[in-house]
């Protein structure tokens, strides 16, 4: 699997092995959630070691190492125990560490899991720090830091801004003198465009996003619905049926690949995205995944917004930094994430690797100084789109990860022709209700 810098992997593997054999054995003997005291303050000189855990690749590790070293240089008493790994298995390990009362002081998290952790009080409420100015969000777009609120508490510091992006294969289109997709074109236009691409190039024009919750969500918002509304689902069966039928129509027109190829593209692994493997003309991703997609293919890539009204999209936090509520050095941990988000030098080091910097001043200076083409592209797209965004929704509910996998399953049931859109939609809604009520 992938690299970690300590021996934690073997424990995770051991647990997975146990979970995978007849014995689901959570090795949990110690409780957690120690709330007493917040430890040394950021300005003291007492030695502090903070554990820091994130997912990502080698590039992210190098940049994070450098930024943290800068912090240690300014605060020699603070050192870091860094652990990182690929996205797959990251949340297994985070959960296991949390269960053992041994969660990292600072960890990276995304909106798929933020509510899971915040609603169980694993994350420290950052609101008091924000109020006292120790955590500065004054340079953040308001909607961006607010996307870290769960039940009125600031559960994570939005680290990087991001939005949905439709990535297309520029090389393929140019070699056949085909038009590029445009921001603002309707879903029907997009499908017609894709059908034409298939006809001319022989490569299916677009990935079928019916199993993609990002695409479904944007489409819902354009129709005045939401994925979640309060603690309920924000859509009903007829919406889902409509969504599945839209893409059934696209399949019938050969705008999308065959079901088994769509299944490959449904993998969470970014390098399996069909635009990267050359099996479709477009993929539905997050804009900040562009540089990584670019690495997986020789082709030129372009990116536009998802079809329909751009008000359906929002400034999504590409990830957050959260502080463990049981941390022994909470104040220092908060100071570290504040430093990473707001210090000009740290911002220059981190660049846009985690998404557009949340701090608008840093974002501007990074945009001016970067030389990476893919990064430049994603910054300019994001900045252009930023003017057209709608209001952000609330962070997804507990049970969201189940909703995501159920959507893939329901969509694939239609794609493989095993169920009608209506039947599949009904099963999906039932499963979602069970998932978010659990």
């Amino acid at each position: 699997m992938s690299s970690t810098s300590d021996s934690g992997l073997s424990r995770r593997q051991a647990l997975r092995l146990l979970g995978g054999s007849a014995l689901a054995v959570p090795l949990v003997l110690a409780g957690c959630g120690d709330d007493s005291g917040s430890g040394p303050s950021a300005s003291s000189t007492q030695p502090v070691e903070l554990s820091f855990f994130w997912w990502g690749g080698q590039a992210r590790a190098d940049l994070t190492d450098k930024a943290l070293a800068l912090y240690t240089q300014k605060h020699p008493n603070v050192t870091f125990k860094k652990t990182w790994q690929g996205n797959q298995g990251y949340f297994d390990k985070l959960a296991t560490l949390t269960a053992g009362g041994d969660a990292p002081d600072i960890f990276q998290i995304d909106d798929n899991y933020l509510t899971e952790y915040a609603s169980r009080s694993v994350t420290l409420d950052l609101t008091p720090y924000q109020k006292s100015g120790k955590l500065d969000t004054s340079k953040f777009p308001e909607s961006l830091w607010k996307y870290g609120l769960v039940d009125g508490k600031l559960a994570g510091l939005s680290f990087g801004e991001n939005t949905q992006g439709l990535v297309f294969n520029k090389t393929l289109l140019q070699s056949h003198s085909l038009p590029e997709p445009k921001t603002g074109q309707s879903w029907e236009d997009h499908i017609a465009w894709a059908a034409n691409v298939t006809q001319v190039t022989g490569t299916p024009g677009t990935m079928d996003p019916s199993g993609s919750y990002q695409a479904f969500w944007v489409w819902l918002r354009q129709r005045g619905k939401e994925l979640y509304n309060g603690k309920q689902l924000g859509f009903d069966e007829s919406d889902v049926t409509g969504w599945f039928e839209l893409w059934k129509g696209a399949r019938d027109r050969k705008a999308t690949p065959t079901a088994d190829v769509i299944h490959e593209g449904n993998a969470t692994d970014i390098t399996k995205q069909l635009v990267a493997t050359g099996k479709a003309g477009t993929s539905w991703v997050w804009v900040n995944q562009m540089p990584e997609l670019k690495k997986a293919t020789k082709n030129e890539l372009g990116v536009v917004a998802f079809p329909g009204d751009t008000k359906g999209q929002w400034a999504r936090a590409s990830m957050y930094f959260s502080v463990y509520r049981g941390s022994k050095s909470k104040d220092v941990a908060v100071d570290v994430i504040n430093f990473l988000a707001n210090d000009a030098a740290a911002g220059a080091i981190l660049g846009t690797e985690r998404g557009l910097p949340s701090n608008l001043d840093i974002r501007a200076s990074v945009a001016n100084s970067t030389t990476d083409q893919a990064m430049k592209q994603s910054i300019s797209v994001e900045n252009d789109l930023g003017k057209l965004f709608g209001q952000p929704p609330a962070v997804p509910l507990k049970g969201h990860s189940k909703v995501r996998t159920e959507l893939v399953k329901a969509a694939e049931n239609c794609q493989f022709g095993r169920a009608t859109p209506a039947a599949s939609a009904a099963a999906f809604v039932t499963a979602c209700k069970a998932a978010i009520s659990a």
């Binding site: 146990l18 054995v25 959570p26 957690c32 993998a267 990860s401 493989f416």
Partner: protein
């Protein structure tokens, strides 16, 4: 697995009992000292966590909430599993299908190849090693990844089919064939039971075959009247182990389906579903309940196998009593 484990102390006890008090006690102490690593493992890694998971199966434990705040919910997990979770029954069916088809085929392949390799010819040693190789690699993640690539649309398997003009498809990525792809992977790892069969075949006295040949029995009759009965204890042993093994299949399904059990739940093996509920959805109480039902079910199946064994397993030493 735990069912077949016997304590190594048991065998040495009668001997120790004949000695006098003091040395006996000293010997017992020494015995326990040597056993300590094993006992620590048994209690620390197996028995105590198992009991905790039994407790958790009656709770709403979700990993992230401290154990002290866990709520006792009685049989709710079990009730949901049996009455309100269609995916659960789907996983049961997938697992049964996998175990009931793949296990007999794997044993048949193992026995067949063992028979071929039983005769001493030039190079049999090499072939034995080669056939055993997949078993060594079998549980590995790397092999499952290779497998997924061989059997996807652009994979090697379709390239071979194309030579014969047969149109290919995405085998591991279509709901009709994904589980079968995993079965083939499972069957291909027949090396371990094959080696045991080979050892069993060597134990069959050659006089029996000579006598049968004198009486006019051909090779097929010899196989059914001599080889199979004489080999039945070994077949039984392999059957029990491989059945349990088949039910526990996880790695290949996890890797080939990217941890989802897809496409459309076609590879949703029981243990994979358990993992998804426990670690994907953080419902460890529910996952623990699933684990206990699984343990009991596999235990029952093993008991049934043992019960039927009385009718078809032939132990040669029984005749001598």
């Amino acid at each position: 697995m735990t069912l077949t484990r016997t304590s190594p102390v048991a065998a040495s006890q009668p001997e120790a009992a004949t000695r006098r008090g003091k040395p006996k006690r000293r010997e017992a102490t020494a015995g326990y000292v040597f056993l300590t690593p094993w006992l620590l493992g048994l209690f620390g890694i197996t028995a105590i966590p198992m009991l905790i998971s039994l407790y958790l199966s009656f709770t709403n434990y979700d990993i992230l909430t401290p154990l002290s705040e866990v709520k006792w919910i009685g049989l709710a997990n079990y009730r949901n599993m049996f009455t309100a979770d269609p995916s659960y029954w789907h996983a049961v069916l997938v697992t049964l299908k996998f175990a009931l088809i793949a296990t007999p085929l794997k044993l048949a392949a193992a026995l067949g190849v063992a028979l071929l390799l039983n005769r001493e010819r030039r190079g049999t040693g090499l072939f034995r090693a080669l056939f055993y190789l997949p078993s060594l690699l079998g549980g590995s993640v790397a092999l499952a990844i290779v497998w997924a690539n061989i059997f996807n649309r652009a994979g090697a398997f379709n390239a071979v089919l194309a030579i014969f003009g047969i149109p290919g498809r995405g085998w591991a990525t279509s709901p009709e064939w994904a589980l079968e792809t995993l079965m083939v992977l499972g069957i291909w790892q027949f090396g371990a039971p094959m080696v045991i069969f080979l050892a069993g075949l060597k134990q069959v006295p050659t006089e029996l075959y000579e006598a049968a040949a004198v009486d006019g029995a051909g090779p097929i009759r010899q196989f059914f009247k001599i080889t199979l009965p004489m080999l039945s204890p070994v077949i039984f042993f392999n059957l029990v182990l491989e059945t349990i093994h088949g039910f526990q299949g996880f790695t290949a399904a996890f890797v080939v389906s990217n941890g989802t059990g897809g496409p459309v739940d076609s590879t949703l093996m029981y243990t994979l579903y358990l993992y998804i509920r426990g670690f994907g959805n953080y419902e460890m109480g529910y996952a623990s309940a699933m684990a206990w039902v699984f343990l009991i079910a596999v235990g029952l199946i093993t008991v049934v196998l043992f019960a039927t064994g009385r009718f078809w397993v032939h132990y040669s030493d029984e005749d001598e009593r």
